[in-house]
């Protein structure tokens, strides 16, 4: 890897990150995407917009989120210090709100009265319903029927916030199908509807826009590291579903060549089992949901049904910027199994008093592995993307407990 390479310069004017990204959508969506790109590129440099976003992030979301040294966990593991970027402390309990606050402000400025969103774990659905309620916008959330079953609490939260939750029963009835259905809604209602995509996937400008709104995580973290620890961490890790919390943390560090970057994908029952959601670790380049990226599919190009214990990682594609970072050799992506994530969940709960989301527990498991490989003065910075309240039912079911 050459240290002179600028990994932060993407995407190019066509929305491409190297060979990945782009706008692979039906003709009907080309105009609304152009309208959105134009609006967003104008707003991202507009001081009034930036000021409003900053205000919301501070007073509504509760930023900045702290970096917490998980001392007992680190001791238990033996090895480097594990530091947690506490996105779980944000309003609504995950990093997803960083993005929805931003996109909702774009929607408002574009004069769109209706918001739609897809959701897997329900965190993005909740975060969308939340900002819609606050701005007085109508909100419809598409969610796979399978995910509705395993994330009941979030479904009810969305309803309490005034959103309509539409079950999606096509295909594998999970996140990818919810995204298809939201796209179908958008194509039908382009005039009055703003589609808030919940991760760094979809057609340009979404991977760029969602990254920009989440990049606050890494910007804060980088400054906090320098201020509190006097140097950058040795390695970063985050879980990767579509990749928004991961790119949010990674982006500010991409040109810090000494910082190793590792993404943790949903390894399910293990990559060898075929039951997993590790698109980067085990997939191949393809086209899904409007962009070229790594996908999990069969030899006929049919998108695979993925498996992960965490609904938020259960996605057969991944944001195109991660595909680029993998091929460029700047970041590594590995599968973390359901079992490893569950172990990490319990260990973090008992050593630190933090119930992490199952998605984030994959990152914690990866952080533990990385910490073991490093000396005691090493530092692993892990994005704790969300809190685990929503997963209590799933975890209880796994343990055979009734709640």
């Amino acid at each position: 890897m050459s240290s002179t390479q600028d990994f932060q310069r993407w995407p190019d004017a066509h929305g491409r990150f190297g060979d990945f990204g782009g706008q692979y959508v039906a003709e009907t969506l080309m105009a609304p995407l152009a309208e959105l790109t134009e609006a967003y590129e104008r707003l991202r440099d507009d001081p009034a917009f930036i000021a409003e976003l900053d205000r919301d992030l501070k007073h509504y979301v509760g930023r900045p989120s702290p970096i917490y040294h998980a001392e007992r966990l680190s001791q238990h593991i033996g090895g480097a210090r594990i530091l947690l970027k506490r996105e779980d402390l944000n309003h609504t309990g995950a990093h997803k709100i960083n993005n929805t606050v931003g996109q909702a402000l774009v929607a408002k400025r574009m004069g769109k009265p209706r918001i739609i969103a897809e959701t897997g774990a329900g965190q993005h659905g909740v975060a969308s319903a939340t900002v819609a309620a606050r701005l007085g916008l109508k909100c419809v959330v598409y969610m796979g029927a399978v995910d509705i079953e395993r994330q009941k609490i979030n479904v009810y939260r969305m309803k309490l916030l005034g959103a309509e939750v539409v079950p999606v029963t096509s295909g594998s009835k999970t996140l990818k199908d919810a995204l298809n259905e939201a796209m179908r809604d958008w194509v039908t209602n382009v005039a009055d509807t703003f589609y808030i995509i919940g991760t760094v996937a979809g057609p340009h400008p979404y991977p760029m826009m969602v990254r920009d709104f989440n990049a606050i995580v890494g910007r804060e973290a980088r400054a906090q590291m320098l201020e509190e620890y006097g140097r950058l961490p040795d390695v970063l890790t985050a879980c990767v579903g579509g990749g928004s919390n991961a790119i949010g943390l990674f982006h500010a560090f991409l040109n810090d060549a000494q910082v190793r970057i590792v993404g943790a994908e949903g390894g399910g029952e293990g990559i060898a089992s075929g039951h997993h959601a590790a698109s980067l670790a085990a997939g191949r380049p393809g086209v899904l949901h409007g962009n070229r990226t790594y996908v999990l599919c069969d030899d006929n190009g049919q998108i695979a049904e993925t498996h992960s214990i965490s609904a938020g990682l259960d996605y057969p594609g991944v944001g195109p910027e991660h595909a680029y970072l993998k091929d460029a050799g700047r970041a590594e992506y590995v599968g973390v199994s359901d079992e490893e994530a569950m172990e990490a969940f319990h260990l973090l709960a008992r050593t630190e008093g933090i119930l992490a989301a199952l998605e984030s527990s994959h990152a914690v498991a990866q952080a533990m592995k990385l910490a073991r490989e490093l000396p005691s003065d090493g530092m692993v910075l892990c994005n704790l993307s969300g809190r685990g309240d929503k997963d209590v039912h799933t975890i209880a079911a796994c343990e055979g407990v009734e709640v």
Binding site: E27, L29, S170, G171, V287, Q302, I303
Partner: protein, 266 residues
């Protein structure tokens, strides 16, 4: 001159409106797919759009989604689809065939390999829903092999972009009659007449109108201002569940023949 160009030239010479049925390859029955294709022609089809099943048909409504799911469950992939085209060509060397679908199956198959095999099978063009003009560079091997890329135009297409689409169009331009997914709503022919007239004035290729054509009545209204009409969901929905060649052929006749006569008498 390509088979598609020849067919439209012949339609123009006789003053007829083209009829383009869409069927999902492998539905209702892989065994009788070739029979179905010949039945389409016998019932008056001028060109066949054959849908390559895809797991995530983002631009399609429930009728075509479900047909796609059924075909995939029966193991239908590109090899089968191309096999049916090859078999069809042994008896019909004239009716153009356009494969319609999404990019991923072709990307995974390999663009060069697909181009070679498709031409060999007797495919004339491709209509890839999620490959707009801006991304069409990946289709270069297809064009080089002689496959025409059918482009879509939509009500949301901006004027400047429409000019570019018209300039790049090959074979025919597929005008999507409303912003939405296949099989949704019913269209207001009054609204689209003016837009299609505008597109036809700019385009050097014929313009086919699709989305929302359900029956002889709607087809006839569109025939007043389009070079061809596409009938998709209404046909796929009617074919669903048909068993055996007789039932398939019968249903094709029931739905296409009235449309054919309506087009010919408009």
């Amino acid at each position: 001159m390509s088979r598609i160009d020849r067919r439209f030239a012949a339609l123009k010479a006789t003053g007829r409106t083209g009829l383009i049925p869409f069927v999902t390859a492998g539905d209702p029955s892989p065994e009788h797919m070739v029979t179905l294709m010949h039945a389409l022609v016998d019932a008056g089809a001028d060109l066949i759009e054959l849908g390559i099943p895809f797991s995530d048909p983002m631009a399609d409504g429930p009728v075509i989604q479900h047909a796609s799911e059924r075909a995939i469950a029966r193991g239908v992939g590109l090899a089968e689809v191309l096999g049916w085209v090859t078999a069809f060509r042994t008896r019909d060397a004239e009716t153009p065939i356009v494969l319609m679908g999404y990019l991923n199956p072709i990307e995974i198959h390999g663009y060069e390999r697909f181009a070679r095999e498709a031409v060999q099978a007797g495919v004339d063009g491709v209509l890839l829903v999620d490959c707009p003009l801006e991304e069409a560079a990946v289709l270069q091997p297809l064009r080089q092999a002689g496959l025409q890329q059918i482009l879509l135009a939509a009500p949301t297409t901006a004027p400047g972009r429409m000019v570019r689409l018209c300039e790049s169009a090959e074979g025919f331009l597929y005008y999507v009659s409303f912003a939405g997914i296949t099989g949704a709503g019913s269209l207001s022919t009054h609204d689209i007449a003016a837009r299609v007239a505008d597109v036809r004035a700019r385009a050097t290729v014929p313009v086919a109108v699709g989305f929302g054509v359900r029956n002889a009545q709607s087809a006839k209204e569109i025939a007043g201002f389009a070079d061809a009409v596409v009938i998709g969901s209404a046909l796929v929905g009617r074919l669903a569940g048909a068993k055996g060649p007789d039932e398939i052929v019968g249903r094709v006749r029931d739905i296409l023949q009235p449309i054919r006569s309506a087009l010919d008498t408009h």
